[in-house]
Symmetry: D2
Subunit: 333 residues, 4 copies
């Protein structure tokens, strides 16, 4: 098993899914120890760094990758298991970028009102207590919040020769901004191009569901990831398996369509897992799903549709690969 | 303190919020022990009862109420604390009603495809084990699921002289279909008309978030509810307080607007509770909210935006009325 | 044939569809000569009258009516033919009402930005030239625009005992704000309650499609309307017939659902009119429909789906009632 | 002035905006005489050719291009004037592709219903009468419809290194499917990459607004196009100028956002053209816009927001380039 550590140089960052030459070829079974830059490309280091002045919006969500997976072919399933995520800096940054976010007009929900004030918040990391600190910018309110690290972006190259910005969540994964992309999760992505060409980045030290203001507690991240390849079986949309849940992530607009996508993907998965008729899968899931919103701010909105495993007969999707990855994760951590 | 038990007759059911004469006048401080009929008006009793044949769609979600609250005036806040919810029958029913639900075309998301098969599922209640049993209709899959009772509808009369169907979730509450309307929750609703005129019904023995197929495990319910009145302070949209969370429920279409409503309502609440500037409230909530979808099938879609209290400095909204209601709930249960 | 002139007093205005006692009983075949107040209830008379100060938002779109139509029963079709619309004042008013309109955040598309400036525009009516004059409020730009009078609201009482604000466009018609509700149009509305209980108002001296800023050139209106009743045949959604077009108006959210509703209603109508299979009606309409947006600012968004008659074999829907009404209109004008 | 005729070979077709090497370099001022294949890649030639069997969905909307425009740089404005569009075959084809179109569930508006029947319609072209003939597939209804040729796709390479399918309408133009892209129209597109890299295709012999069933009367097309370059002045979204109208095309989801984009783009244009304050431009456009839907079936929905020039003081946007192009069009036709 290959154990590979990689930190990209600034010149090696990529800002798209698809369209970039692979940074490295990796074999299924590899463990990757990756460093990723924060979403702002390290442009916000103090509350005086305003996004309108410092952030190059054409170079956000820098990706670490893409990695070419040996043997991966269209129709295969890439399994990426997140072993560990560790903040790689002593602070995280968040910002209200003018005309970006969920409670402001945007370039798409276009309106005529003035922008909200361009504002930056810096969150101090306390590793011993595993917290980040919110400090109000317009008052002296302060509160420590637990670090709950996750990856905002994780995805493969799109189908059809498309190249998409690293701000886009889609069928290929990408900027889903779901707190479900956390340690212990195995993410299944359909492979669209030879080598899969996956990348990751946009580390969040924590994020609320919805990512309301448009940015999380953004920070450089050390990620340990296990890479596996399943021949065939590509899901239509990203699926995630954890010890406690099975889930699918839909990303589209309007948000009810994101939900529909995720819910249908789960119906299809349940048909397979439990040999259920469509109507029975539809009904059963109707009574058990947990449906947290992931983001309402990106190029597509993302919704996670989850089923709690403890409610259901035990299943081992994809021949039990998640359990195997969990076991290996314990060894490589 | 008045302790009132009430079971409506069939003729006393109402099917709207607003527009109906009060069934009873109650004083703030009262405990109500209410029986409510199931959403189908008891029309589905076996899997052979099909909704297209048995259910009168003009008479669904029968409400118990409305109750006139003494002293309630427009601008006041009605606080309804759910003490206890107990299934009042030995079975619950769910159905796919043709052209109703989240993964089918509907009268609004109008399309030309054929309907999905009209199907009814009956869930046996096991009180000793506190479960309902899902039995597949197209196969022999069966699984016991915990009873997690909730009220699909709880609301007051609308503003502006409007009268709305009991299928509608809105600013006045109503058919929000949120699993958050469960025992232990205090629901705050702005009063629009003298007496508030609240009603409840549509008991669910359990429901997944989204209520994907359009109906939950629907069942007659025994509800114990405490009624309180707060002079003034009406929230714009329904708020809910539990021991663990503060939350707001937005209901509109498309679903991103439901979310926006809930998220803004929470920003406004946090401005008040913690004396925060709008931008700081926006930012803080962005990093902590939990955002489960409630329903994607009703006249409006509903989304809950929640903040976990344990992350935050302690607050006692509305002068600590929730704690007081919790204490009284322990006595009346 | 009855020929009835009616001007309501201020006390007679109604602000809902449904829920109000009829102002008058009329027989099918009647000609009604009605006066209606403007949408602002005459509160804006100069550019110094700001909507936030002068307009009572609980009393806008005052309706003239409701009229009880003798013999109308649920399932029947009310045909209202607009003979003539004449501005009843020498000026029209338009306003940007804070947080109302299409290019601002609203109570539903809720955001945190500041409101756009509360602004009123007064349009001088020149009857000889049949124009209204736009005068810029922030500069000296001025332009005369042709008067193209239309009714913003025209509708019947809703089904299911609902009562809806006169700001709402729905299945029952209402505040559709479509420029298609103009002289020469026959509007078909399904009857939901005995007597139909129709009303009209919200006269517009002119309006762009979409009614972007939320208000048209609003003005008191003299309307001449012919009332007819067709037994049975109620359309699901409002249909309109003119000499040149057949059309249906869908109203919902998001706007693609409004369109779907209107397009499906036209498919159903074409199946009947031309004895077409669903798929052929779908295809044929795909190649010929004209689809102007009506409003993107009301409680529901409205879209008109139109088919140009000159492209198609001649048909006389509803036994040629439109032609008969056109003939009678020439007599009563 | 260069006068260039070009017919691509099958191998030269491209299926994306961006990402393809230029087929040819052209100078501003050139007249291009281009042949384009139909959207189905000529796979549907009789009603027995079903889309599910014959159409390769990874190779639809084949583009003629991209053309590199000499001197075009990011921030410039490409002006493409459509001189003439002529059907290049004796038939057009339309199809209901399963799970594609406006009145069916799709991969995005995901549902569980069965597909509508896969159906192909062939429209015979009668050049002398300038008509195509609709022949019902499920009955004997037949009607001749005027040919009104338009281009479904016309666009430049996207910004940010993205590559998008030729099924996508966006800021860069693309698959807008607007009947406004017809002879006599000058289309203004912001240049994102050196050389602009524009292409066109997806000829429609006619199309209803909305393109309800997902496909128009699709046919190979002979296009005569004039190419001009304006230094600077890039519009944010595509603008179109004709002798009678100025307009902007917004493309997003949900459809109200497409409209907002188009309406804001027009506000911004009117601020410039008439030196208007934002609020006056907003108000004026509110009373005059015509807003036909373009498509409700593609990856984004498109809406055209139009202002009729005859209502307004004469203006010559972009230094009168449209008039100059019209004059030249008369010479090269």
């Amino acid at each position: 098993m290959d154990d590979i550590a990689f930190t990209p140089t600034f010149e090696q960052y990529t800002y798209t899914f698809g369209g970039a030459a692979p940074i490295m070829k990796v074999r299924p079974g590899s463990v990757l120890r990756l460093w990723s830059e924060d979403a702002f490309n390290h442009a916000l280091r103090s509350v005086d760094d305003l996004s309108s002045e410092k952030v190059d919006l054409a170079a956000v969500n820098p990706q670490t990758g893409p990695f070419e997976v040996e043997g991966a072919e269209p129709g295969d399933t890439l399994a990426l298991h997140i072993v560990e995520l560790t903040p790689a800096r002593d602070f995280g940054a968040s910002a209200h970028i003018p005309f970006f976010g969920g409670l402001t007009s945007t370039d798409r929900t276009a309106m005529l009102q003035q922008a909200l004030p361009d504002t930056t918040w810096i969150y101090h990391v306390d590793r011993s207590r595993n917290t980040v600190t919110f400090d109000g910018r317009f008052g002296d309110f302060s509160v420590d919040l637990p670090i709950e690290p996750m990856l905002g972006t994780i995805g493969v190259a799109p189908a059809g020769g498309e190249v998409r910005s690293s701000l886009v969540p889609e069928r290929f994964g990408g900027n889903m901004d779901t707190p479900e992309a956390k340690p212990g999760a195995t993410i299944y992505l359909g492979v669209n191009v030879p080598g899969a060409m996956f990348s990751l980045g946009d580390g969040h030290y924590r994020q609320g569901e919805g990512e309301a203001c448009g940015t999380a507690v953004e920070g450089a991240m050390d990620s340990v990831v296990l890479v596996e390849l399943i021949k065939g079986g590509a899901p239509t949309w990203p699926r995630i398996e954890t010890d406690t849940h099975l889930m699918a992530i839909g990303s589209s607009r309007p948000m009810e369509d994101s939900w529909r996508i995720g819910q249908v993907e789960m119906v299809r998965w349940f048909e397979d897992l439990y040999d259920l008729h469509t109507m029975d899968a539809y009904q059963l899931l109707s009574q058990i799903t947990e449906v947290p919103i992931a983001n309402v701010v990106d190029a597509n909105y993302s919704v996670a549709v989850k089923a709690r495993r403890s409610l259901l007969p035990a299943v081992s999707p994809y021949d039990g690969i998640h359990a195997a990855l969990r076991a290996r994760a314990a060894e490589v951590r």
